[in-house]
Symmetry: C2
Subunit: 202 residues, 2 copies
């Protein structure tokens, strides 16, 4: 077993990788870090951002969860989690970059203001930052809500796009106090994924 996953138990980005690994039946060695380990010299040599997840696949080090999902899915082409046609691949990229560039920064901002800063003893709860994040979420989640109309998954079938996105949104109501009430298609899609036998415990 040569694949190592550097992980924080609370990181939704690391969880994306654990979920895809469960779906694909990929075995890996989980290296559980603590918050304080992220800035250690040793870890920064692997990932200079001091973030998780990072994988080390027999000496090949890779960070950024979406890049890791693509890399792992490409190693198992028979499972079809990453389509092989140029146009289908481009649509995977489109939705991954859309989420990474528009939705996740807003989720991150909410997480910092409502959870991480208070946890670190900083005030957090800045109304300006929270309002900006919520406005961005409401703008872009409408696009996802429409995309999921009459569809089971974001693309025509289950792909890594679902693994890159749903794990960040499913805890938004409880963890980030961001209600998904206005997004019934998004709620139904998350519930569909939650029925996977490994979903809860990955």
């Amino acid at each position: 077993m040569t694949l190592a996953l550097y992980d924080l138990p609370t990181s939704p980005n690391a969880r994306k990788v654990r979920l895809l690994a469960a779906e694909l039946g990929i075995h890996y060695r989980r290296v559980e870090l603590k918050m304080g380990d992220l800035q250690s010299r040793e870890y920064l040599r692997l990932n200079p951002n001091g973030m998780v997840p990072t994988i080390n696949d027999d000496g090949f080090v890779l960070w950024e969860s979406a890049a890791i999902l693509k890399y792992l899915a490409a190693k198992h082409p028979e499972r079809g989690m990453l389509p092989s046609g140029q146009k289908e691949l481009a649509k995977v990229d489109q939705w991954l970059f859309w989420f990474s560039g528009h939705v996740e920064p807003a989720l991150d901002q909410l997480a910092w203001e409502r959870r991480i800063k208070p946890y670190l003893g900083q005030p957090g709860h800045d109304p300006t930052l929270i309002a900006a994040a919520e406005a961005a979420l409401n703008r872009f989640l409408q696009v996802l809500e429409k995309q999921l109309m009459a569809k089971d998954y974001i693309l025509d079938k289950l792909t890594i796009v679902d693994f890159a996105t749903a794990p960040r949104l499913e805890h938004a109501p409880t963890f980030l106090e961001f209600d998904l009430f206005h997004y019934p298609n998004i709620i139904a899609w998350i519930e569909r994924l939650q029925k996977k036998p490994y979903w809860k415990d990955a």
Copy 2:
């Protein structure tokens, strides 16, 4: 000529596509939009985010600049702007997602506060949002600065990663009032790209 690029002259994200098209010698039809066109029903059918760039390649519609760069580069594999090995591809993805998820949201925030909101007659210049954006930039640009140490390009040779990133950073000092003074490797890399004969006018 069947490739159309929907473009705003002032959009740095659309400019990434124009620059790569110039590098690859790709001909396209440029559809120049105005700010007001982005929310038109016709354009929202192409790109439900109301953003540029969007391409229409003989009926195949694609948005998100990084996805477009990958798609166009993959159509010209002989030019090597997108490596073909799984690990090399994964490193391209890593840096694209890193930039899209960490650096660009901060650049966007500065652009909105310092340029776009004032242009739209809104106050903008919110000190909390500007400070958060500058802190993120200073955190993540250190990672890029280190990556560019003793290297001409972000990866081992010129790739779409450079096209996805440099066009957003080169005008940061003048347009966003964000100084790159502390990042000499980044400055030298941008100047290297600016020597391309098409760079100034693309």
